[in-house]
């Protein structure tokens, strides 16, 4: 049978019982719609987790000194010679050193704050980093140790800014800040001074810190300052200014990361993969939930296929004489089988299309509801969904597949009918 004839026959056949077609297609639509909805939701949430909450770069490896050191057998110190050895690893493209400011620091601010007034006293956690680590996000100056009397350049975390904008600022009626707006803001800092404990010894050093950029790579619960500044402050505070708190390695290629990790561990150092693990754990949780929902949706598709099978079994029985007539005028068993399969395929296509459309509409409604009704929590995305044509195509294909699966046995039953018997009945 030619495709044009098959198409015409299918349309003629389906138009006879549009209610039955709609019911069968509805089952497929519910299954495919929920599948597309949940998969898009899962991918969308996963994107937020990976890009906003735990932004990890595939080529970065954070190295820290060993947490336990036992005498001469203890792990390596993370000093300059170790850093040089790390830089010589074959797969390492770049090395960025980090050093905590090992003396306490605090800030008490009482003054204008972007059109409002802010009164706050906070402990400051500062980490010095090589300029290259954050240079692309620095918008003011060159991120180097300032001459005496000049403010210390600091890079703040984009995630910290997000938490400020969504959680801290609204209840205090403070303004929303963008990364560019916050650049240039200066606040006083007293080093070797703490509000929370009595661990600071020696004279305190008053200075100023100026925000020069906002970076995903910056410390979440603190600020990043130039490494030289951190070393200078540590020397002034008579604390360790030689060993580094950490080193960030940049791999030449993401595939080289496992080899680098192995080499680093071989040097007696440790990998700080807390963020990566958190991202992986969160991603895994999202993935498992998405899989569960997808499985549920596929179960609905399976039920839809069973429903289609039942409907087609009934239809084939009811149309036995009609099938016999078609055979009498020249339909082969293959033609009959193809006709039933094509009818089911069209039902699957309609159901799949409606399902995809329904999922898109529902997703848009959820996003709209989220924007208008949900509080503005940190990392709240504009959309919770990641729409991808491959998901839509997969949904359509699955809808057709489910319908074809449901029609497999009915089509064989129809093809096996004996026209001599059905016509005579």
């Amino acid at each position: 049978m030619r495709i044009s004839s098959l198409r015409r026959l299918v349309l003629l056949s389906l138009s006879r019982d549009w209610k039955g077609v709609a019911f069968s297609a509805l089952g497929v639509a519910i299954g495919i719609g929920s599948l597309v909805f949940f998969v898009s939701l899962g991918l969308g949430v996963d994107r937020v987790v990976r890009q906003k909450i735990f932004p990890t770069e595939a080529t970065l490896v954070d190295v820290v000194p060993p947490s336990v050191s036992i005498g001469v057998l203890g792990g390596a110190k993370l000093d300059q010679s170790t850093v040089d050895r790390l830089a010589k690893l074959s797969d390492v493209a770049q090395v960025y050193r980090k050093m905590n400011v090992r003396i306490p620091a605090a800030s008490r601010y009482d003054g204008p704050f972007f059109g409002s007034n802010l009164r706050i006293a906070v402990e400051i956690l500062a980490v010095g980093v090589d300029a290259g680590l954050v240079r692309k996000d620095v918008l003011l100056g060159d991120f180097s140790d300032p001459p005496p009397g000049e403010p210390i350049p600091a890079v703040a975390s984009s995630r910290l800014l997000e938490i400020y904008n969504k959680s801290f600022a609204p209840p205090r009626n403070l303004p929303q800040l963008s990364p560019t707006l916050v650049v240039g803001f200066t606040l006083p800092v007293i080093f070797n001074r703490t509000f929370v404990g009595g661990t600071a010894t020696g004279p305190s050093m008053a200075g100023q810190v100026q925000v020069v950029g906002v970076s995903e790579r910056a410390l979440v619960a603190g600020i990043n300052i130039p490494l030289e500044t951190a070393m200078r402050l540590n020397r002034l505070g008579s604390v360790d200014a030689q060993t580094f708190s950490g080193v960030t390695l940049v791999a030449r290629d993401p595939s080289a990361v496992p080899r680098i990790i192995q080499a680093v561990k071989g040097m007696g150092l440790q990998i700080d993969d807390q963020e990566r693990r958190l991202a992986q754990n969160a991603g895994a949780a999202v993935l498992i939930t998405t899989y569960a929902m997808a499985l549920l949706s596929m179960l609905i598709c399976l039920l839809a296929a069973v429903n289609i099978a039942q409907a087609l079994f009934a239809a084939v029985s009811a149309r036995a004489k009609e099938i016999g007539i078609m055979q009498a005028v020249g339909a082969s068993r293959r033609d009959i089988r193809n006709l039933i399969l094509a009818e089911a395929g069209v039902i699957g296509l309609i159901g799949g299309g409606l399902g995809v459309l329904g999922a898109l509409v529902l997703a848009a409604a959820v996003d709209r509801l989220s924007a208008s009704r949900l509080p503005n929590f940190p990392f709240k995305p504009d959309t919770f969904f990641s729409h991808d044509w491959r998901i839509f195509a997969g949904g359509l294909a699955l809808g057709i597949l489910a319908a074809l699966a449901g029609s497999f046995l009915p089509s064989r039953q129809a093809a096996a009918m004996n026209p001599a018997t059905t016509i005579a009945e």
Binding site: V329, G330, A420, I423
Partner: protein, 228 residues
């Protein structure tokens, strides 16, 4: 046109094996108008189904329009039914949701020609041939019994078959309408079509050139010359 040799067919029912065709021989020449008569259940319809390639479950040899049916696979039998024979049934067997024209065009759905205006023109011509050109858009439910049978005959004629196989074609029609249909068969016969009718109606068998009686699963020829 039709050669059947030692045709046998049996089926089982509650009381055992029933032999419907029991070594039947049959010859129908091209252009002949023959009627097979016999009692109800004598196997007339079964014979028609075997000769038309609808029933492949039999023993013996059947050759119709040069085709040895035993040698054809399912696709070959389908093509044979599509091109070589046309069926007319007592109950018309029109598809209810198709218009008269679409019912006539039904064989075209399974033919080799692409569906298009040319086929529709041929469908209309065929409807005109049976006097139904004014009602091509009617559904079967909107037609009388005689009109339905005319549409069914048009469908059987659409592919220009060599042989028309008719199963009690006037069985569901009143005398007047049945007479009109018989007249149509006569006209078709005059145009050269080979017609084999199975019937238990005298008026139908009376229209045939030759009447064959099916008794005990075999054909007894010369049961009477038809009235032409």
């Amino acid at each position: 046109m039709i050669i059947a040799r030692d045709l046998r067919k049996a089926y089982r029912d509650g009381s055992g094996e029933v032999r419907v065709l029991n070594g039947l021989d049959l010859d129908v020449r091209a252009g002949e108008f023959a009627a097979v008569v016999g009692a109800s259940g004598s196997g007339k319809s079964t014979l028609l189904h075997v000769l038309g390639g609808l029933d492949a479950d039999y023993q013996g040899q059947v050759e119709v329009a040069g085709a040895r049916l035993r040698e054809l696979d399912d696709a070959g039998l389908a093509l044979f039914r599509n091109r070589q024979v046309g069926f007319v049934f007592q109950a018309f067997h029109l598809i209810p949701n198709l218009t008269a024209l679409d019912n006539v065009l039904l064989p075209a759905f399974f033919g080799a020609e692409p569906f298009g205006p040319e086929l529709r023109r041929r469908g209309r011509d065929t409807l005109a041939r049976v006097g139904m050109s004014e009602k091509e858009d009617r559904l079967p439910a909107q037609l009388s019994g005689g009109e339905r049978q005319r549409v069914a005959i048009a469908r059987a004629l659409f592919a220009e078959p060599k042989l028309l196989l008719c199963d009690e074609p006037t069985g569901n029609l009143d005398e007047t309408t049945g007479g009109e249909v018989i007249g149509l068969f006569r006209a078709l016969h005059r145009e050269g079509l080979t017609i084999l009718v199975v019937t238990h109606e005298d008026r139908m068998s009376g229209a045939a050139q030759r009447v064959l009686r099916l008794t005990a699963g075999v054909i007894r020829d010369g049961a009477g010359e038809g009235v032409r």
